[in-house]
């Protein structure tokens, strides 16, 4: 049974030069308690996918143009009205944004910002919310938490701020936390601490995480399953060990090859040539074909290929390449 099932999600951004399909037919499942990683080049639609789940587009002219976002017990989030969705936000599904400095209101004290989410969904007094906030700060190992309650965000370091954001996200013990590059904006030395904290807290609460990251090393360390996105589509998905150890889509391979061998691969460092296609008017067929060293004429026609299981692949390991292993080996 899945906690979250995304089916054929389409999300469009209006821009002066046309409508960009930032998410174009994305499907994946997240099981309870699981950490699901999403990776891909910048601009491939990772954030757009995750923001679609709670419909938080930061004032950008975006809309969900199709598909379903099924949350166990709550129904289709994509079809919900704003009022109903507001009940789900913070209570069932929480969000952790990339930059903890800008993610906190600069003119509101920390304690009140954490208490706010509690008071929104539970009938508690100001004092009770404050006590709960204090406990939450302790849970994320913030030092001298009493003092921090009355601090403003700018008085805290980046790492502390992200702990506050995590505390806020965990306040109502949601079933799913969406973390959009939660450590990218942080000092390298605290990135690891924050990720381990997030994993530790979620493990103990049984919370699932969707983790967006650029770092395949992080995925390999803490994620259970993953999806690789390219130009608004999932091109490969499966258990992390399957995807990283036996990548079957040429894009995933190229991505791994472009990595300084921290995932334990012995191949040379090979950057991917070319640039991702336009999302306003994408090329026909496989979107990676123009950059793919294996591409055949049939790759460049028709609808983008769907995800499918390859012969001999592990359970739930799918990719969206129409070529067979012989073609891959031949090149």
């Amino acid at each position: 049974m899945s906690l979250l099932s995304i089916r054929d999600l389409v999300t469009e951004f209006e821009s002066p030069s046309g409508t960009a399909r930032a998410v174009d037919g994305v499907s994946f499942d997240v099981a309870p308690g699981e950490i699901f990683g999403i990776v891909g080049e910048s601009g491939c639609g990772k954030s757009a996918t995750c923001r679609s789940i709670l419909r938080l587009f930061g004032g950008a002219p975006a809309r969900i143009a199709g598909g379903r976002i099924l949350l166990d017990g709550a129904g289709d989030l994509a079809a919900m009205r704003e009022r109903e969705l507001a009940q789900v936000r913070g209570r069932d599904v929480a969000f952790i944004f990339q930059d903890p400095l800008t993610a906190l209101n600069p003119t509101m004290r920390i304690g009140r910002q954490i208490g706010e989410v509690i008071r929104r969904h539970r009938d508690v007094t100001r004092a009770e919310a404050r006590d709960a906030a204090l406990q939450l700060l302790r849970d994320v190992h913030v030092t001298s938490p009493e003092r921090r309650l009355d601090a403003y965000p700018h008085e805290l370091s980046g790492g502390l701020r992200q702990r506050v954001v995590i505390a806020m996200a965990l306040a109502l013990r949601p079933r799913l936390i969406i973390a959009d590059e939660p450590t990218t904006a942080l000092d390298v030395t605290v990135q690891d601490q924050i990720l381990r904290l997030l994993k530790e807290r979620c493990d103990s609460l049984g919370t699932s995480i969707i983790l967006i990251t650029h770092d395949l090393g992080v995925v390999s360390q803490i994620c259970d399953r993953m999806a690789v996105m390219y130009a608004g589509r999932v091109v490969e998905t499966g258990a992390v060990r399957e995807v990283l150890d036996a990548p079957s889509h040429p894009y995933t391979r190229a991505l791994l090859a472009a990595l300084p061998g921290q995932v334990g691969r012995d191949s040379e460092l090979v950057p991917i040539g070319g640039a991702p296609p336009s999302l306003i008017d994408p090329p026909p067929g496989c979107r990676f074909a123009p950059r793919c060293v294996f591409a055949q004429p049939q790759c460049r026609i028709g609808a983008p290929p769907a995800l499918r299981a390859r012969a001999g692949a592990g359970e739930g390991h799918l990719d969206a390449c129409i070529l067979n292993e012989v073609c891959h080996a031949a090149a």
């Binding site: 709670l54 938080l56 930061g58 004032g59 950008a60 704003e82 009022r83 507001a86 009940q87 789900v88 936000r89 913070g90 209570r91 929480a94 969000f95 944004f97 930059d99 800008t102 993610a103 906190l104 209101n105 600069p106 003119t107 509101m108 706010e116 989410v117 929104r120 969904h121 403003y152 700018h154 954001v165 806020m168």
Partner: protein
Amino acid sequence: MILAILKRLLMLVPVLIGITVISFLLLQIMPGDPASRAMGTRASAEELQAMRELWGLDKPIWVQYLYFLRDCLTGSFGVSIFHKKPIIDLVAERLPFTLAIVGYSTVIALVIALPFAILAAANRGRMLDNLIRQIFVVVIAMPPFWLCYVLIIWLALRMGWFSTGGIGDGFVANLGRLFLPSLVVGLSTAALVQQSLRAALIDTMKADYIDTARAKGLRGHEVFLRHVLPNSLISTISIIGVRVSWIIGGTVVVEKIFSVPGLGSLLIDAIVSRDLPVIRGLTVFFAIMVVIVNLITDICYALADPRVRLE
């Protein structure tokens, strides 16, 4: 905080000395003899001479300046030739009306600007936003004297809702009397505040912490009232500060038309009657007010935004 304020006040001393020098020198260039102005055309040469001696106009310039500096330091700012009173007394009589217009017009401006800024920001890029923008452009473009007369003819004479000018007795009476002049002044403030607040609202609505607030499940009005509006209003503090220092000396036309005895009309009367000490004293007084308003603006800023510290 208090230490910072004291420090700021201390830094004013050189600024104010500079202002006294400049205002003193500028007025030396002004044509017309203050003594003959004060005495009228029928005064004899001896009477004029006596007058000049009495007011110190026959002394060397630097002596006159030192007299002036002494007057500023003792707080009298000099003595009016025309009114034969210390300038500070004249200011004290008129300052309440000017401050009333400052406060009243600012309240009116906020009442007008707030809803239109919110409406425009919520509909940015659409018809309504453009319409509101056009309306306020027209408001800014209207000359104040013309607007004064339009309002007098319409609301005072034709509708009879307000008096055509003058001041009343007591707070309530003046609330009615000062409405039209404050409205004229407030409309320009409103246009400025509307523009800047609209921009600030649009900016704030894109901020990450607004997404955070919505991610908590807060409803639209909760997000707006608790997060968007307070953070946007901070940026209008400085606009209002600039307007207030301008209004203190700059409402001559409105004060004249509505016969409000404020500082603006005091200044214009002094210029007309060549009342040199009043012009000089007021210039220095206005400068002090501008500096004080600036300081108050900065204090408000520091209170509203925890990231800002008073330097």
